[in-house]
């Protein structure tokens, strides 16, 4: 865009258009790591590198971030096992390290693993925390009050011992999205088997047929009746289709919840051991 930025970009990419790569997949699969080698490399890193580059390799005021380092990322993607890092470790300013070839290779494995662990595509740490930070009493009040949860649920009935069945992260998801499940974002999740919706189809001049909804679009509807049979109806003019969503009350809450309500409910249900 501007002269300075352009020059930088040329250097930036010029450093990288170097080589023939091996198999690595963008946004999908990280390069493999030899865990034993990475563990050994972690020792090398702690002894020689961490002081300046930080214990997690994200850099300090004394040394740059190695997770975003072009030579480290090149080594990782091309699986060079330190071949091009070795000269840098000897000749870069403040880098007169006399490491063996094996030590450099181990260091490469440690840095590859560090990048993998921090970035999404590498299978980063992906657990929520502080899930019990809410106020259990407030959650109980919401359960019996504004939330209206007690109209369908009971802490001594269906929810008795619920905290033993789900860890807090799953519990929170089941409160808010009971039709989905933990682990799915982006576009929602498929309904769980227990999330069956009931449908009643009344064809023109016919009697109503009830069943579990199997499939629906603007042109047909398929249900499974109580005998287990599948029946499909064309949605011709005059065909009445009524779908009952057992989770409609949960869906209605989505527009009303405060985040505190959700955190409080999570804390409250977690008391139901």
């Amino acid at each position: 865009m501007y002269e300075g930025a352009h020059l930088k970009s040329v250097i930036f990419t010029g450093l990288l258009v170097l080589s023939v790569a091996v198999c690595a997949r963008a946004q999908i699969q990280p390069p493999p790591v030899d865990e034993a080698a990475a563990n050994r490399g972690e020792q090398v890193f702690a002894a020689s590198c961490a002081q300046c580059h930080g214990a997690d390799a994200r850099g300090t005021t004394n040394g740059p971030d190695l997770i975003r380092s072009i030579p480290v990322l090149h080594d990782r993607t091309q699986q060079l096992h330190g071949r091009e890092l070795a000269p840098l470790l000897q000749k870069q300013p403040n880098h007169a390290f006399n490491l063996t070839q094996d030590q450099v290779s181990d260091l490469s494995q440690f840095l590859t693993r560090s990048v993998n662990r921090i970035l999404r595509s590498g299978g980063y740490y992906n657990q929520p925390s502080d899930l019990l930070s809410g106020d259990a009493k407030g959650g109980e009040a919401y359960f019996n009050g504004a939330g209206g949860c007690n109209k369908c649920h009971s802490p001594t009935g269906d929810l008795a011992g619920i905290a033993n069945r789900y860890p807090p992260a799953a519990l929170q998801q089941r409160i808010v999205f009971p039709q989905a499940g933990f682990g799915r974002g982006r576009g929602g999740a498929p309904a769980s088997p227990s999330a069956r919706r009931e449908v009643t189809v009344t064809p023109p001049n016919g009697s109503a047929v009830k069943g579990d909804l199997v499939r629906i679009d603007d042109f047909s509807v398929t249900l499974q009746d109580s005998a287990g049979g599948y029946r499909t109806f064309s949605r011709t003019a005059g065909t009445k289709v009524d779908v009952t969503d057992p989770y409609a009350a949960h869906v209605a809450l989505l527009d009303k919840y405060t985040d505190a309500d959700i955190h409080n409910l999570t804390a409250y249900l977690e008391t139901l051991k």
Binding site: L119, R120, S121, N126, D130, L131, G181, D218, L254
Partner: protein, 527 residues
């Protein structure tokens, strides 16, 4: 490298002298005409409207729309077997891609003419298609190459690197030709890297300019980042091709989300030029203006949805306009001469913005940024719309999109001082998909159609035949009366529509072509 490429061009030119007579490639004049016998670029024309002036298929005969042919791709396995590309149609041939393969298919019969395999060093999530200049077809590969092929033979002319796979960029964007420029976008959001748009010489692949999605250090806009380090690692990928106004000589495109994606705590500020609609001069790469559709994103909502351009009237005044239904749930209409907002309104459920600022840009609510213990946000990470293209119909003056009302819970996973990459994500979800027709003058919905099932994302095509074509969340390709939302026709496919539908007319026969998964379907009303 360049010398080798020049030799390759000479060789290709020599080979062409023996090529089949009559196959003269894409006539450059077609780029400036309504798409009728040709669909010469990703959106059909520079406006991005995805509106065809064809009306051979129309509201009175669409009930007779019938399958003319299908073409099922053979894939090499792995991800990317889904056709996301909008095919181009030039001289009776369709050209389209998946991430590692290009096809030429007869547009009248659906018969394969050639394929070209690229042995990619990485696989990536999608490829939206090709660009064509004259006798040359261009596509981006997952492993960061721009490849030029002979459109008649599918043989490679040359290739050149456009990004770095080490830094986790990848290629997926159809190149857009503007005179002697080929405009290229780049993809990738695992690593904290800057997005950019660049122009290369279509003959040689030589870089003409590159525009980065961040200010220069020292620019006033650099103050929208806490420091230079955050700014230079701030994201803003250019995932989707833009639009072009030849009169103003401005190219319009969107930039992606800021990085790190979900935990934005180490990049306080609005983070220019991520989440923006940008206008720039395609000859120089100099930015003319920006409008930030999504300041300080922390939900993975890029603003790359096609900025559709059209002329219209707002408050009795004729205006050169640009409209975008943005992934963050907001609909914007801008004056495309200067980027000033005329309409800024949500078109789907959103709870993340508290209002708009003086420029018409949404103001993010800090309370709705991801937290370790979860925050309920609308829309979810997939957004109220995503890359599947919207459409504007000048006959109805309506803007159409498949909008999604959706919620999910956003969590910060990495709460350290220096989060990197994603550092969080969303989980769970509920959604309601709805086809909407919006009056651009007010941002209000004129008609809508709630789909009865969940999931699926499909592009939209409108035509002068009074029709709107799109996919439903199930496996149907559906035609609506564009004026009132009445369903006129449908066909069940073998999967959900996976691209933006397109149309063309050959020998007086109009075809509508759509992809669902691994199959391309051609429909027509036989005369």
């Amino acid at each position: 490298m360049r010398i080798g490429k020049a030799l390759a061009i000479l060789a290709a030119a020599a080979a062409l002298s023996w090529a089949l007579p009559g196959q003269s490639g894409l006539d450059p004049a077609k780029l400036l005409q309504p798409a009728t016998d040709t669909w010469p670029m990703y959106n059909g024309d520079y406006s991005g409207r995805r509106f065809s002036t064809l009306k051979t298929i129309n509201t009175s005969n669409v009930k007779s729309l019938a399958l003319a042919w299908t073409y099922r791709i053979q894939t090499t396995g792995g991800r990317g077997g889904r056709i996301s590309a909008t095919p181009l149609e030039v001289n009776g041939v369709l050209y389209f891609t998946i991430p590692n393969r290009v096809w030429a298919v007869d547009a009248r019969t659906g018969k394969e003419l050639w394929t070209h395999d690229w042995d990619s060093k990485i696989s990536a999530i999608g490829s939206r298609g090709v660009g064509i200049v004259g006798e040359t077809l261009y596509f981006e590969t997952p492993d960061c190459n721009l490849v030029a092929l002979d459109i008649n033979t599918g043989k490679e002319k040359w290739h050149t690197s456009i990004c770095s796979i080490d830094l986790m960029y990848f290629g997926s964007v159809p190149p857009i030709p503007i005179r002697n420029h080929l405009i290229l976008g780049v993809s990738g959001d695992d690593m904290d890297i800057p997005g950019y748009l660049e122009s290369v010489d279509p003959e040689t692949g030589d870089l003409q300019w590159r525009w980065y999605a961040h200010p220069n250090p020292g620019d006033p806009e650099a103050a929208t980042w806490p420091n230079e380090d955050a700014m230079m690692h701030g994201g803003g990928m250019t995932w989707v091709p833009g639009t072009y106004d030849p009169e103003l000589n401005l190219y319009y495109f969107g930039t992606g989300n800021a990085q790190p994606v979900i935990n934005g705590s180490a990049r306080e500020g609005s983070n220019l030029y991520t989440g923006c609609i940008i206008a720039l001069n395609p000859d120089t790469g100099k930015m003319a203006w920006y409008f930030q559709a999504n300041p300080h994103d922390s939900h993975d909502w890029d603003a790359v949805q096609t900025p559709i351009i059209f002329d219209g009237e707002i408050n009795g005044q004729k205006r050169k306009l640009l409209a975008q239904a943005s992934r963050d749930g907001w609909f914007f209409v801008l004056d495309r001469t200067n980027g000033k907002a005329l309409v800024s309104l949500p078109f789907a459920k959103q709870n993340w913005a508290t209002g708009i600022d003086a420029k018409g840009q949404p103001i993010p609510n800090p309370e709705k940024m991801a937290k370790t213990n979860g925050v309920l946000v609308a829309p979810n990470q997939g957004g109220a719309v995503n890359w599947p293209p919207s459409s504007f119909d000048p006959d109805t003056s309506l803007f159409y999109m498949n909008a999604i009302d959706t919620y999910s819970i956003y969590y910060v996973f990495d709460n350290s001082e220096k989060p990197e990459g994603w550092a969080g994500n969303d989980r769970g979800g509920w959604s309601q998909e709805t086809l909407k027709a919006i009056d651009y003058r007010t941002g209000k919905t004129v008609w809508s159609h709630k789909w009865p099932a969940e999931g699926g994302r499909s592009g939209v095509l409108t035509t002068a035949g009074g029709l709107l074509f799109t996919g439903d969340p199930s496996e149907n390709f559906v035609a609506f009366n564009a004026a009132n939302g009445t369903i006129m026709w449908h066909a069940g496919l073998n999967g959900s529509v996976s691209n933006g539908p397109m149309t063309y007319e050959l020998d007086g026969q109009q075809y509508v072509v759509v992809a669902a998964g691994d199959t391309l379907y051609g429909f027509t009303v036989w005369r």
